[in-house]
Symmetry: C2
Subunit: 114 residues, 2 copies
Amino acid sequence: MQTLEDLFGKCPYATAQKILSGKWTLMIIHALVSEPLRFNELQRQLPDMTQTTLTRQLRALEDYGIVNRTVYAQIPPKVEYKLTDIGMDFKQVLMSLEHWGDKYIDYHNQRAPL
Amino acid sequence: MQTLEDLFGKCPYATAQKILSGKWTLMIIHALVSEPLRFNELQRQLPDMTQTTLTRQLRALEDYGIVNRTVYAQIPPKVEYKLTDIGMDFKQVLMSLEHWGDKYIDYHNQRAPL
DNA sequence: CGGTATCCTATCGGATACTG
DNA sequence: CAGTATCCGATAGGATACCG
C-alpha cells in the first residue's frame, strides 16, 4: 500500500502536510520569519512549548531544509536559527494562512464567543 | 500552563495548526475545493487512507465548520460532502501552499533525486 | 453505500533530571 | 546557554469485522 510518505516529494500537499505535522511548526516558522533567533529567544516567544519539544521540532525542520542552525564557538554557547531560502519562501503561505485564520476566528466568535 | 488549545480561536497560526493537524486534512480539503463529493468518491481520490480514518477526519472537519455533510434520504444512501464558506476561503491558502510545495519539491529533487 | 465498533500500535509531545 | 537522556501517557491512525 502506498502511504503518505511515498507521496512526499511528489504531491505538494502531502509534502507540506508532512513538514507541517509538528504541533508547533507553524508558530516556529512564524517566529523566524522576521529575524533569526537564538534558542532561548525562540523559547521565550513560545513559552508553552517544552525545551525538549522545541529541540525536536527544530531538528526536524533542519532535516527538511527549512531551518538553518549555526553554532558559534564561544562560551557561553550561542546557537542561531534562521530560515533557509525555501523556508523564507514559506512566508507567502504564512500570510494567507494568517489571513484565513483571522477570518475563521472572527466567523466563529460571532456564534460562539469565548 | 497555557496549551495550544488555549490559543485556538485567538492566534490564527495555532488555530490553523490544530485544524490542519489531521494527517490527510490538506488533501481532503483539496479534493473538495473543486466540487462536492460523495463519501466513496473521496475514497477513490484518497486511496491510501482507510475508510475509518476518512470518516474520522471528515467528522473533525465538520466539527470545525470547514465541511458540510448532507445526507440524502434514499436507498442506496447518498452522502455529500462540501466545503462551507469559510472552508472555501481556504482555497487561497491551498494555492500558495501548492505553489510553495512544488517549489520545495523541485528544490530538493535537484540535490537528492528520488 | 456509507458508515460503526473494536482493537492495536506507533509516534508524538510533555515532564523531569542531568550536562559540556 | 543550549542542549541530551529517559520515561511516560495520550492519541491518532491503521486493520479488521460487521451493519442499516
